[in-house]
């Protein structure tokens, strides 16, 4: 594995007595695409601003490339930021915007001109040098903001919800664009978003945050398939989170029925949370199922049908390509490795929260 490029040590930050980050520890490796993911107010943007130098942490250290940069002002840091609302200089044309950082560093004119050409080519906006920012669409402005940042050859690019203001189609295109850019540039990206799909698509590593705490760090697959607590399971994708009892290793009692699972080491007769993804539930005939119930709603979603099944007092969310009409009696079957067992939250902060939007 490559080196740790940025380390956050015991970072705390509060505004007006409201704690935003609590003793946070995190490291980011070189050449990694890291996403800070969480609902609004979880502290992800504050974390980014602390790394960028726009906020000072109350306690803790920021170490960059082996050096303590906690007190270093933003303009001396070897990283660049792409802001949420682009923040292009409206009184300058595109070329002047991109040249801003290079002119301050007193680079030669030919060097700057080459860099402008290179950056515009990289973001597929060749020939836009003399346009004004106002005359560009949101997506184009965002590309210019990226170009303006990367000409400075930062070791790390910080992106603060850069796609938040774009429409869905453009957002998806830009996601692929960002992955391509990251691979071409070979630098570290730290990306902040509240959009779990964006995070799953682009990241090498996802840091799930809630209420100032890191909930889980892992690859997109780990975060999706093996959420460590109910918050993560709830925040990433749809899921059925059910209060259950771990009877012994590899056996869990869910809503009174015994299910085989693959998890071990939780102890015997322990209360746990169980996560089952809706696409992992197999609907069968009532006799074949571990639990049986009745379909209460049916929606066609294109790729699959979304159904609610009332069984043993719980409304199960099911995604299936097979359709079962409302009122049909069905059985529920789940493969052992699709049952994810989680410890009950140790504190309130890990509690699943209702997510807006």
């Amino acid at each position: 594995m490559s080196n740790k490029l940025i380390t956050l040590e015991n970072i705390s930050k509060s505004y007006d007595n409201h704690l935003v980050l609590d003793e946070m520890n995190l490291y980011i490796r070189e050449n990694e695409f890291v996403t800070l993911l969480g609902p609004s107010g979880c502290g992800k943007t504050t974390t980014l601003r602390i790394i960028g130098g726009f906020e000072n942490p109350d306690t803790g250290r920021v170490v960059f490339d082996g050096k303590d940069i906690t007190k270093l002002p933003a303009y001396k840091r070897q990283l660049n930021t792409v802001f949420q609302k682009y923040a292009l200089f409206t009184h300058m044309n595109i070329a002047e915007n991109i040249a801003f950082g290079l002119k301050i560093k007193n680079k030669s004119k030919s060097y700057i001109d080459d860099k402008i050409k290179y950056a515009l080519k990289l973001v597929n906006l060749e020939g836009y040098e003399n346009r004004m920012p106002d005359s560009l669409s949101g997506g184009q402005q965002q590309r210019i903001a990226i170009a303006r940042a990367i000409v400075n050859e930062p070791k790390v690019l910080l992106l603060d919800e850069p796609l938040g203001a774009l429409d869905l189609k453009l957002r998806q295109d830009m996601q692929y664009e960002l992955i391509r850019l990251k691979n071409e540039l070979g630098i570290t990206f730290i990306y902040v978003t509240h959009d779990q799909e964006e995070a799953l698509t682009m990241s090498d590593t996802i840091v799930v945050m809630n209420q100032g705490y890191i909930q889980q760090i892992g690859t997109p697959e780990m975060i999706y398939n093996e959420p460590e607590n109910a918050f993560v399971a709830d925040f990433i994708g749809d899921s059925n989170i059910i209060d259950s009892i771990m009877i012994r290793d590899e056996l869990v009692e869910i809503l009174g029925a015994k299910f085989a699972c693959v998890d071990t080491g939780f102890g015997e007769n322990v209360h746990v949370d169980v996560v089952i993804r809706p696409e992992d539930i197999e609907l069968v005939s009532p006799e074949e199922g571990t639990i049986s119930g009745e379909v209460t709603s049916l929606i066609f979603k294109g790729v699959h049908y979304e159904m609610d099944v009332m069984a043993n007092g719980f409304e199960w969310l099911v995604h299936s390509t097979k359709m079962f009409p409302v009122g049909e009696k069905v059985g529920i079957k789940v493969d052992p490795f699709n049952i994810q067992i989680m410890n009950k939250p140790a504190s309130e902060d890990e509690e699943a929260v209702q997510i807006e939007e």
Binding site: G52, A74, Y75, N80, T81, Q84, A87, F89, T90, H91
Partner: protein, 273 residues
């Protein structure tokens, strides 16, 4: 249907501007370009070249220029401080600042007369603490003082407004790209505030150039600005023709100064005024 209604709505203003702007303007031009017998002449306008008139125009230009520059130098830092305060504090500060504007212009200037007089408040205080009295009243200094005091808010507010509208992320972006505080100010804040500066300059320079009340009250009729000369032609000498002719000349200077500011404003994509 709707269009018709909107047209009707504009009627009161149309009447207003006809009665109080267009007709008076036509009359000024009529009087300015005729003599007492009603014959067409340029004599009234050309009389600006008389030393006494020309001198009053120069003094007016000079004093209003000085006042505008001082207003700008005072206002910009103040506007920056105001715009950087949090909203609770800056509302109060703005209120304190705008408060004198709610009082009548004439009263404020008369108050300054009382303060600056030879036997006025300031000199009385100076004498009680055995300091030499100052001779301010009836000097150009007093006029500049009065202009600055009366017109300062008109410089502060447009600059303050434009500074408030600058997206803080732009300043962060500049810092992010390596600009220190001074560079951020020179390359981002200042250029983006040009429209506010321009409208501030216009709103101070034009009324200062045409004033006759301030110079009357604080200059003691010893220093004649072009505004005083025009006023006297209308009131004392009852020579409406000469007064109108000089007014046309003054209008020309105002238009010239506005054109100059408009040229400077081009880069700022002006929303001046």
């Amino acid at each position: 249907m709707k269009n018709k209604f909107v047209k009707w709505l504009s009627l009161p203003y149309a009447f207003w501007s006809l009665a109080f702007i267009i007709i008076p303007l036509v009359m000024v031009f009529y009087f300015g370009l005729t003599d007492k017998t009603g014959k067409f002449t340029f004599a009234n306008i050309l009389s600006i070249s008389l030393p006494v008139h020309f001198k009053s125009l120069l003094i007016a230009l000079l004093l209003s220029f000085i006042s505008t520059v001082i207003c700008l130098l005072l206002s910009y830092p103040l506007a920056m401080i105001l715009s950087s305060l949090n909203s609770k504090n800056n509302k109060l500060m703005i209120l304190i600042f705008v408060l004198p504007m709610w009082m009548n212009f004439l009263l404020r200037t008369l108050a300054w007369q009382t303060l600056l007089e030879n036997e006025g408040v300031i000199n009385t205080i100076l004498r009680t603490i055995h300091l030499p009295a100052l001779k301010i009243i009836n000097t150009p200094y007093a006029i500049v003082f009065g202009m600055i005091y009366n017109f300062l808010p008109f410089m502060v507010l447009p600059i303050y407004n434009v500074l408030c509208k600058i997206d803080k992320n732009l300043l962060n972006a500049a810092r992010d790209l390596g600009a220190n505080e001074v560079q951020t100010f020179l390359k981002v804040t200042l250029p983006l505030s040009v429209p506010g500066i321009i409208s501030g300059i216009t709103m101070v320079f034009v009324p200062a150039l045409t004033t006759f009340v301030i110079s009357d009250l604080l200059g003691g009729s010893k220093i004649l600005l072009i505004g005083n000369v025009i006023e006297q032609e209308f009131t004392l000498n009852s020579n409406w023709h000469l007064g109108s002719g000089l007014s046309i000349v003054l209008m020309l200077f105002i238009i010239i100064s506005m054109i100059i500011t408009a040229i400077f404003d081009k880069d700022g994509e002006g929303s001046a005024l």
